[in-house]
């Protein structure tokens, strides 16, 4: 029997962060020594709009338990409009994953500015906890990639 809150489960979280806001926000949470779990691994992208849905699925295929996308707040995109496209793309993608019965809480988009180090850390803590509760990703994994 699996325990419901999955206390001992260590989820793998992939975070895509835009270079200008969220990656800097993540740096700031480091500068301010704000803790968040080691489960979170960050990939730097120029803009949240660089994140292809294929990357997200790829992460799930390879064993990620949660994928979070961070970008500048709407209106603050370094490239003007990138995050607006991200928002539409990800809304539709997440909706589709939900439609296929994939747990909603495994994916998330969060707007984190370069000044929001505290928000970044809080978001990562929260998201990791939410994914931990869900347990291992089984519905969108590739069995061939499962660690032996």
């Amino acid at each position: 029997m699996q325990v419901n809150d999955n206390k001992d489960f260590q989820p793998l979280i992939v975070a895509f962060c835009c270079n200008w806001c969220s990656y800097a926000g993540a740096d700031l949470s480091g500068t301010n020594r704000l803790n968040y779990p080691t489960n979170v691994k960050i990939i730097r992208v120029p803009c949240s709009c660089r994140v292809n849905p294929m990357f997200i699925l790829r992460a799930f295929q390879r064993g990620a338990d949660g994928v979070i996308l961070c970008g500048c707040h709407p209106g603050d995109c370094h490239y003007t409009s990138g995050n607006y496209f991200t928002r539409r793309r990800m809304t539709l993608l997440f909706s589709m994953l939900d439609f296929l019965g994939i747990e909603r809480d495994r994916t998330r988009v969060e707007w984190v500015s370069a000044a929001e180090g505290a928000k970044f850390a809080a978001t990562m803590n929260e998201f990791t906890e939410a994914v931990r509760k869900l347990g291992p990703n089984r519905r969108l994994e590739d069995l061939r990639c499962r660690k032996q």
Binding site: V14, T38, K41, V45, P46
Partner: protein, 663 residues
């Protein structure tokens, strides 16, 4: 076969205290393609960089991974080091094991494990890095200044001085901005117009400066060195080139009941008007909302009195397009609206005025010709109460959280001027704190107290009640005396908070610059780059960046000009080579990428191809202008076939990072 070098930095104990750097170097040494893996105390130090350089030469490295602080910190350092050792700088990747690892984790084992994974991701990525060469793009030697207040004028003059053409876009019919409305300036009490108007004239006469008054920026495209701006010249129904500014039309105009915005609505102007005597350009403008000819088609008096035939009722808004190398934002500020502050009775009582209104009331060109009279009954006020921090330092939805910075000084100025001119007037200033840092500022304030006997009272006005006898009951607390005061004042002057101009927010979107929550433009660095925005080629001048007084504004305006000149003197700038490119063989020519490109960097060409069936065909394919592309990557996701990819952040590179992390 790739030959990759891994360099793990201790950063003193910043990394080494929580990450076992030796273990990281050891583990990464076993990754495929890694031929050398080392750790060092301070990798960014000269000896650390030499370690990297020597390894590149010695091991003939084809890729370098530095596990250190954030790439935002030292990516450039290591890229330069690699370049000096003969390795293409874009073959360097940074694994961020300080800000995103050692500084946020406490447990050595798990932090080390994470550092290794981050290192592996960087190694996996660098396997797929390809050498990139930065291109160059030319710089248009012309600057645009948005806003024609003292900040914009000063910036434009300085740039023109350096020999570059500069355009000023001002949304009002005249340049001059807020300073033109001010009577005297602190701490010297010299007349604002006397020092501003010569600059306005200088700007209008400078051969390098073009003033687009009554105009707005409609669209901005392009990038540093090469902006294309659409400027909307609003119809003023007067031909600027013909109008001599004689003012006959304004005398004859029968529509005389138009609130005069220059005098803060305290008096009226005509429908055709010149904002003030020293306006630049000194050209009349018809207010279409009030002009009877434009409203009802009847009148035409101005046209008939104009001896040069400058009136043109058919004039329409005109869009002009111009290329610029640099853009300086100088959109300035406005006092906030006080509608929400019922306790100060601003809307109920005409004798409760804002400080800017007081400026006009006291100005020789103002509604009362310079005599201070109550707006309600035109009598001389004998007791005047000043209230500081109205809307400033507020934590509620009504006001602004910041200190507006200029109010303490101008209130002292007002108090002093009134006491000087009308010694029979009692002046009270209610303050929370008096903030007067600045050269000769505190001395100025002390003069108001000590020489002019202005009553400075520590405490806030709680309630302002107009009485039927024409007096105004001001209820306030005197915190030091611990009593509640009631003052029967004749006038109340509110030091309203200042806020950025409303046009700033949409402008920021067009310019792709960032703003803070108060709509002030965000500087690239609060200490080290105070006059640049984070967007290359966009500079900040004056109060659009934060509250400022005149000397500070002028200083910043000149600083922004210096930065812009620094850009304009270059013939070309180096482009970011991490730009999108399209694989023509896979491109469908569907136009999706073009639709999402914020820079218009993508165009389509018809190109002849040899098809798989050995025939030739002409196909429509996308082509990216690398000088225009800024590398956001929006197009790469819009492209269904994957023909569009991004240098430095390619699909395969990002996926290899994902794989390495999820391994």
């Amino acid at each position: 076969m790739k030959r990759i070098g891994v360099f793990v930095c201790h950063c003193g104990t910043n990394i080494a205290a929580t990450v076992d750097v030796k273990a990281v170097a050891e583990a990464l040494g076993h990754e495929p393609g890694v031929v050398i893996s080392q750790d060092y105390q301070y990798m960014c130090s000269e000896s650390g960089q030499n370690l990297v350089k020597n390894a590149i030469k010695e091991h003939n490295l084809t890729g370098v991974v530095v596990c250190s602080c954030s790439p935002r910190m030292h990516e450039n350092t290591f890229r330069k080091a690699a370049a000096s050792a003969g390795l293409n700088p874009y073959l360097v990747e940074i694994a961020n094991i300080r800000e995103q690892c050692s500084w946020i984790h406490k447990d050595i084992a798990s932090a080390t494990e994470k550092a290794i994974i981050l290192g592996k991701a960087a190694v996996a990525k660098v396997h797929l890095n390809s050498p990139l060469t930065a291109g160059e793009s030319p710089v248009v030697k012309r600057a645009l200044v948005i806003g024609g207040g003292i900040a914009g004028i000063q910036t434009a003059l300085d740039i023109a001085e350096a020999g570059f053409d500069v355009d000023i876009v001002e949304k009002n019919p005249t340049i001059g901005g807020k300073m033109a409305q001010i009577d005297k300036t602190f701490p010297t009490l010299d007349c604002a117009a006397c020092i501003l108007t010569p600059k306005m004239v200088e700007a209008s006469q400078n051969e390098h400066i073009t003033i687009h008054s009554f105009s707005e920026v409609a669209d901005v495209k392009g990038f540093v060195g090469n902006f294309t701006v659409k400027i909307k010249k609003k119809a003023r129904f007067v031909d600027e080139t013909k109008c001599t500014g004689c003012g006959l039309c304004t005398e004859k105009c029968p529509m005389k009941k138009v609130p005069n915005e220059f005098n803060m609505g305290l008096d009226n102007r005509t429908a055709i008007y010149i904002p003030f005597a020293q306006a630049v350009p000194k050209v009349a403008t018809i207010d279409p909302n009030y002009c009877m000819m434009l409203q009802k088609g009847k009148c035409g008096i101005c046209s008939s009195v104009c001896s040069v035939g400058a009136i043109d009722y058919k004039q329409e808004d005109k869009i002009i397009e111009q290329q610029y190398g640099a853009i300086i934002v100088a959109t300035g500020f406005n006092p906030i609206k006080l509608d929400k502050y019922d306790e100060f009775a601003y809307n109920q009582c005409p004798d409760v005025v804002t400080s800017l209104e007081l400026e006009r009331l006291m100005n020789a060109a103002g509604p009362n010709g310079g005599t201070l009279l109550r707006p309600s009954d035109k009598t001389h006020p004998h007791k005047i109460v000043f209230v500081q921090c109205v809307g400033s330092r507020c934590d509620d939805s009504k006001g602004k959280p910041y200190c507006s910075k200029i109010c303490c000084m101008y209130t002292a100025k007002h108090a002093m001027l009134i006491r000087e001119k009308y010694p029979d007037t009692d002046v009270y200033v209610f303050y929370i704190d008096v903030r007067t840092p600045g050269k000769n500022f505190d001395e100025f304030y002390r003069r108001a107290v000590e020489q002019y006997n202005v009553h400075y009272i520590k405490g806030m006005v709680g309630k302002v009640t107009p009485r039927s006898d024409g007096k105004i009951d001001v209820q306030a607390s005197d915190l030091l005396a611990n009593e509640q005061l009631h003052i029967d004042a004749d006038m109340v002057v509110l030091a309203a908070a200042i806020e950025p101009d409303k046009t700033a927010r949409p402008l920021a979107t067009m310019l792709t610059t960032q703003m803070d929550t108060n709509d002030f433009f965000t500087e690239a660095h609060p200490k080290l780059r105070p006059v640049e925005s984070a967007t290359a080629g966009i500079f900040l001048s004056g109060a659009c960046q934060g509250p400022k007084d005149i000397p500070e504004t002028v200083a910043q305006a000149s600083a922004a000009a210096a930065k812009a000149i620094g850009l304009l003197v270059k013939n070309s700038i180096t482009c970011n080579p991490c730009v999108a490119h399209s694989d023509e063989l896979m491109c469908n020519g569907c136009s999706s990428c073009e639709k999402v490109c914020p820079y218009g960097a993508i165009t389509y060409i018809d190109k002849e191809f040899r098809m798989p069936d050995r025939t030739t065909a002409i196909r429509r394919v996308a082509s990216v202008n690398p000088a225009v592309c800024q590398g956001c990557g929006a197009c790469t996701v819009a492209c269904p076939s994957g023909a569009m990819d991004l240098n430095g952040f390619s699909n395969s590179q990002i996926m290899s990072e994902v794989d390495a992390i999820c391994k």
